[in-house]
Subunit: 373 residues, 2 copies
């Protein structure tokens, strides 16, 4: 059952025993926020902390505040600057100060209104305020269909991303697709890259569906988006339910990420968005697969679907191959010159290979650069 009649939206239950929770996806959910919180047992007896960023707040804070006020919720708002730099211990401490000053107690709830940055920051606050309080995600980016499922929350350390964090599952993810209308188009496409990834690793039919409806999705057709985000969350939720603490299976979610992370680093985390970088990385994984003996149709298909969404499929020519490889070796351990890679074996299927040599990766990187020369 993927719709909740009484709530009038799509519903997906993430099954994690006593930490199971629903993801609600639909248009116009934020104005009904109070009712949805009550549905999850969040009463107005204790103050709430709402964390958001400047861009998101400009467009959507008023709606949320009004909805909370109608429900009689006593809410304190903490706004951080937009962008990755807000995922820091400094902003984390500032959130804590706001929470303490507002008298949040152990029965309070932290709400994240925003993309992955706000979700990760506010989630880590929720995980550790008084040793853990309730947490609700209100995603406003397409990428956040990925980041809001799985319970990973974190801030960055000056020396490395996502180094400081916890696993903390939300009480609910409430995804109002209306908020996406104000999202910059580059962010839309980049977020869709993770949706495509979810098809490529797990579900050929969904992947084909994405390819077929690329234009509608980029144009934010609400019904198509509701289905696509539902399916994307569903793949992630299934993988996470089977491997909550990231022991093994969860690694398949990293398709395209080994090369992708290296490209983000070489571009100083400013040139390429995460989704753009993994788009190129997914082509790289397909190229690797073909070098390892898989059908060359894998590359053709991967390129076709990403291009349909206007996503990049080759490495910018000014990116230095050695710099990319050394960023990758910094990120991943190449022990004995070999490392782990997620490799497609068919559309909707991947394998985790531990024997990928640095030379093979180099030839793929060269290939991906050649295309853009």
């Amino acid at each position: 059952m993927d719709t909740n009649q009484s709530l009038g939206c799509r519903e997906l239950i993430v099954s994690l025993e006593d930490r199971s929770y629903p993801i609600w996806i639909g248009s116009g959910l934020l104005p009904r926020l109070s009712a949805l919180l009550l549905e999850r047992g969040i009463s107005n007896g204790s103050p709430l902390l709402l964390v958001s960023d400047e861009q998101v707040a400009k467009h959507h804070l008023a709606t949320v505040q009004q909805a909370l006020q109608e429900g009689g919720y006593n809410t304190v708002v903490h706004i951080v600057p937009s962008g990755e730099s807000s995922k820091s211990l400094t902003h984390y401490e500032a959130c804590m100060t706001t929470a303490i000053e507002a008298g949040l107690d152990r029965k309070s709830t932290v709400l994240a209104l925003g993309g992955g940055v706000v979700g990760d920051l506010a989630g880590f606050v929720a995980a550790t305020y008084m040793r853990g309080v309730k947490f609700i995600q209100l995603p406003t980016t397409i990428l956040a269909h990925d980041s809001s499922v799985g319970g990973k929350v974190a801030v960055n350390h000056a020396l490395a991303k996502n180094m400081i964090g916890a696993f903390h599952q939300p009480e609910a993810v409430i995804f109002d697709l209306e908020t996406l209308h104000t999202l910059p188009i580059r962010e839309v496409r980049a977020g869709l890259a993770e949706m495509i990834k979810h098809g490529l690793i797990w579900d050929e039919a969904f992947s084909d569906w994405c390819l077929e409806h690329a234009d509608d999705l980029v144009a934010l057709d609400q019904a198509k988006l509701a289905y696509g985000i539902y399916m994307g969350c569903n793949v992630k939720a299934q993988v996470v339910s089977k491997d909550e603490r990231e022991q093994n299976l969860r690694a398949i979610l990293n398709l395209g990420h080994t090369i992708g992370h290296a490209l983000e680093a070489v571009g100083q985390y400013g040139e390429l968005l995460h989704g753009e970088a993994i788009s190129i990385g997914m082509v790289g994984s397909a190229e690797l697969a073909v070098l390892l003996g898989e059908d060359s149709q894998l590359v053709t298909y991967t390129r076709r679907i990403l291009e349909a969404f206007g996503l990049p499929t080759s490495i910018p020519s000014h990116y230095d191959t050695d710099a990319i490889l050394s960023a990758m070796m910094h990120d991943k351990k190449f022990s004995g010159g070999r490392t782990t890679f997620v490799i497609p074996t068919a559309v909707g299927q991947v394998d985790i290979r531990h024997d990928i040599s640095i030379e093979l990766v180099r030839s793929v990187v060269d290939k991906l650069k050649g295309e853009s020369a």
Copy 2:
């Protein structure tokens, strides 16, 4: 079975399903640390982070380092200043920096060598480094028999103590009683106050045993200490096993703490040690019990046992009653003028009462002050 023959020490298993772990208590355990780590599956394949404070390091770091070196462990050491002010986000971040620079990975382990301050700080680092790594406690104070059991880890916020933290169970607590010989005598007595508390809330026979062996315990008789700490940990572990996430039963561990915390605050966290403050608080709880109709022998017994350990039983006369009451109201919610208190009903038994009026507490505070006039 409370001894582990092959390890040659007392052993207590804290039962928490898949997070169960042993507490090993004995003399001369630190020189054998490598063998004990191996016993818990801590291999020397990944670097360790050892956190300690200046005082503790001066006396005991060399022993630990030599033991780890013999086991082939690659260890990075992070030393913080002694005292409560090291339980801060600033020192937490510095620990993280040390860990990242030393290349700690997800299979690494954090060790805490010290009292409750180092245990709480290092434990929070372990709980959140890369979303959680393994943690080992090496307690060096008597109080740490309390703080090292239960999985509560935290740092302080400038506005309030223990506000930022997590629940993170250790892989093992390795309590080498030899380290206690360098502990200042005031700290010895204060730590014993928590041991006495464990008798008073749970086990009359153990309480009587403490009273009988007060002098031996204060003199750090190793066999008596081993038994006392074993029994103290045992009470805490039983309570915690039944209520890991602090839903209800765990509240009984707060005997003496409502008044105690207020006294610490009024003394600006410098005049009274925590154990001294709760010593006075436990007398207060007994006085409250008598006002509520319990036998006055409760007060006599409570005073007698605390005095046998040289612990304070009355409020310093320069502490202002109103200041104490307002600190308490800041700490606890008096809703409708009533609050929750742990009240003894017999030696080894307590009740949680939610109907204690502020007037009743005031009369007890006055009584405790009168004694010191």
